[in-house]
Amino acid sequence: MKITFNRTKYLLIGLCTCSLLIQTGCWSKDEIEELSIYVGVALDQAKETKLEAKLGKLAVNANDRKLLSVTLQIVNKQSEEKGGNSAGDPATKAYLNVSETGDSIIDMIRQLSTRMERPAIGHHLKVIVINEQLARHKSMYQLLDFFLRDNDIRPNCVVMMSSGLAKHTLEAKGNSIVPAFRLMGMLENRYRTLKIMPRMTLYKLEKHMHAESSYMLQNVVAAEGEVKLSGAAVIKGKTQKFRGLLNEEELLGVILLSGEAEGGIIKCVNEKTNEMIAYELKAMNSEIYTSVDGDNVSFDVKMKSEGRIIEDWSENSGPIDDAYRAGVEQSVEREIMRLAKQGLDKIQKEYKADVVGFGTRLSIEQPKLWQKVKKNWDQAFSRIPITYSVELTITETGTEKSQ
């Protein structure tokens, strides 16, 4: 086969090749070990660390406004390598936290390049922890703008709230722990307990931000290098600012109302025996029914759950028969109702923030009505009567004391 090349053909091939080469590719060549991978970010109110203050004194500083402090958690490769080789605790920590205080988040991250030899990259950012006091004054629009804009950072990065100093949640006692990974791992435990809410990622959050709807962020507290997921922070839709905390019980109530429970324990007192009894929730869902009468809207929430009895402290509960079952079901149902009331009262009456998603339901069922109320939805929501009921099925009672 003879290929005849003439000048036009050469020119065409040349042009095609060139045009391929000038396409936007990835020109940013940087060997991976020349980069600092940051996996966690903590946003706090402005407070310079001692080191920063010292450096600030010595440096010729262009006076930035001190609006907030950013702490980056960078994975420390040297120790990670050692950690991989030996089973024991390595000598140095697996991570490195660096803080910077200023007014622009990206500027502070870039400033770190003047302090470290390796530039920080955000491809592997897993978690952003925001201090609650900071979020009270600064809206999520402002705080998360950079993270949403930057195309390196993945939108599945999780956002959390801390009622203490956010940077403390990124600290750990042991040397083998990377605190950002620990936080992520803890969120995986949702199937074990009802006290952890579904992860709020950047892309879900962005949706709420644009819809101006209220939502919750997982609250995390830290002390002495240990962390605990505890309750949730409520962000108001309109302002996108922190409104208040839900304690663990209130969060539990809200999770049950929204039907987002994956699994966990509900403990209550068995009304017959007056002893503690624990119900393990295996599956649940909830449905919101909207009924409209003129301009009056009301909601009815039907919760359904299946589960088993996992612990019973009563010594003489008698045989496990239908009566026993019904008794337990009733006790647990009553407890769920109590929890739901507690949670609903808090979000509806006190915070006036629809974090369960009644608004979404209304917008689906009554789109015209929704157009009218959506501007001031959180206010309207606080006045809407909501009823709820629960239907519980105990599918098994465990191996103990079987019939």
Partner: protein, 483 residues
């Protein structure tokens, strides 16, 4: 030639004075008083045959001189099957040089040429380059007649045709084009014949010469003719409607036309049950991709896209690479070239040393290079996977193509990251799609799309479903079954 023996002999002596291996043996024809001589090449001609059936018979003639005629000798004395006449010395000398024995007798103006060629041929052994677990343990050898016999012996098939052509200007060699008359496309056979006839070279060493002289595109990295040592493979190809070329002096037969998918197929795909065959075939396609792209992916991930590596892996890669002084491209090149050298060295080494070399090379150099901080352990894994994958390709020549090609995307990756790798892959695909082997598109049946041929492409469908021969070959008889 005249009828005087002595004159003839001196003429022969004159003609063969530069052939030290030509033996001229004069003798008397029994007690008849006539004399003769045989001329043969030492080593090529069968000594036993000459002694027992020619010399012995001729020397024990008991008839009178007058009754010794050419026909008498031919019909009553020489008990050999292959016998021709030659009227001039120049006519029989080439034959003698190939192993025949010329018999000149006083008073005859023609020489008798007796076929005494004895070729020492290797036994039919299992082919080394294409070993199988299941399948016939027979491979071609260096003798053309043995090879054609292997094909004939496969089964009674009156339509198996052998077309003989001589190639090479100075050293003329026999070449046989084999095909099945009522299956193969006559245009294809004609095209192969035409290309073989066009071979214009003084010497054809091996079928590789033929391959390179008849292929479509000499610039392509891919082999456009399949070479094989296995008779079963050749027969299967013939039955599909392909054409085979066998050359004297080499165990490697050529099959044309070839498609890319054939290079990743093994006869075992058909001998094992279809599920195993399909899975193994898919595995080989996967291995081909790995051997082509893994080092390039490594380079582009490390140098351009740290975000595409799972976080924990990224961290451990960083930890492993922290002491490595080279960029990922240089690092990968060092190891890839090293492994190619090892492989090449392993091939050339005497058999007992080969495996030891492999261990030294693979284990010790890899381990030591990591210890010394020249390369990262991740790269050693990448290189090892690449090497192993390239061994999984059943055709040696296809393996070489991929081994060679994989260096190109590495440079593309170092320049443009993943984008470069994708560009490379696109260009490679464009090339493969455009390439043809004897008129059959190289990428078929994918491009051009022929659904019915997909039964024997990525998948190997159960036997009962493969009722048709490949459509791409335009065979005379499409059906494989009687009905």
């Amino acid at each position: 030639m005249n009828d005087n023996l002595l004159e003839n002999l001196s003429l022969i002596q004159e003609k063969t004075k530069y052939y030290s291996d030509v033996v001229v043996r004069p003798f008397a024809l029994g007690d008849s008083g006539k004399a003769g001589a045989i001329i043969f090449v030492n080593g090529l001609a069968d000594r036993e045959l000459i002694d027992q059936h020619i010399l012995k018979a001729l020397m024990s003639i008991h008839v009178d001189q007058a009754s010794i005629t050419k026909n008498y000798i031919k019909n009553q004395v020489l008990s050999v099957s292959q016998l021709t006449e030659a009227s001039s010395i120049d006519e029989f000398i080439p034959k003698v040089l190939l192993g025949s024995t010329a018999l000149v007798i006083d008073g005859f103006s023609e020489a008798l040429v007796i076929g005494t060629a004895k070729v020492k041929s290797r036994n039919i052994e299992e082919p080394i380059s294409e070993a199988l677990v299941r399948g016939p343990r027979a491979g071609f050898n260096e003798t053309l007649s043995d090879n054609t016999a292997l094909l004939r012996r496969h089964g009674e098939n009156a339509s198996l045709a052998f077309m003989s052509i001589q190639v090479g200007e100075r050293a003329k060699k026999d070449l046989i084009i084999a095909y099945i008359m009522d299956i193969a496309d006559p245009d294809l056979v004609e095209e192969v014949r035409r290309r073989v006839l066009k071979i214009d070279i003084d010497n054809v060493m091996e079928s590789g010469y033929v391959e390179q002289l008849i292929e479509d595109n000499y610039l392509s990295p891919f082999p456009q003719v399949q070479s094989t040592e296995r008779p079963d493979r050749v027969i299967a190809a013939l039955m599909e409607g392909r054409v085979a070329i066998l050359l004297d002096g080499t165990p490697f037969a050529l099959i044309a036309p070839v498609t890319f998918s054939m290079l990743l197929q093994s006869p075992e795909d058909y001998y094992e049950r279809w599920m195993a065959g399909t899975l193994l075939r898919l595995l080989r396609f996967f291995a081909a991709l790995i051997s082509l792209l893994t080092p390039a992916m490594y380079v582009s991930f490390i140098s351009f896209h740290p975000g595409l590596i799972p976080t924990k892996l990224a961290i451990s890669i960083v930890g492993a690479r922290v002491g490595v002084p080279f960029t990922s491209l240089v690092e990968a090149l060092i190891m890839e070239v090293a492994i190619e050298i090892l492989r090449e060295a392993g091939l050339r080494l005497p058999k007992p040393i080969g495996p030891a070399m492999g261990i030294v090379g693979g284990l010790i150099i890899g381990e030591a290079a990591v210890q010394a901080g020249i390369v990262s352990p991740i790269l050693v894994i990448v290189v090892a996977i690449t090497a192993i994958s390239s061994f999984a390709i059943p055709q040696y020549s296809a393996g070489i193509s991929l081994r060679m090609l994989r260096f190109v995307p590495m440079f593309c990756a170092a320049a443009f990251g993943m984008y470069g790798v994708i560009l490379f892959f696109l260009m490679l695909c464009a090339h493969v799609v455009k390439l043809k082997s004897f008129g059959v598109p190289y990428a078929s049946p994918a491009v051009p799309y022929r659904l019915s041929d997909w039964k024997d492409f990525f998948f190997r469908m159960p036997m009962f479903m493969m009722k048709q021969r490949p459509e791409m070959l335009h065979t005379k008889n499409q059906k494989r079954k009687r009905n």
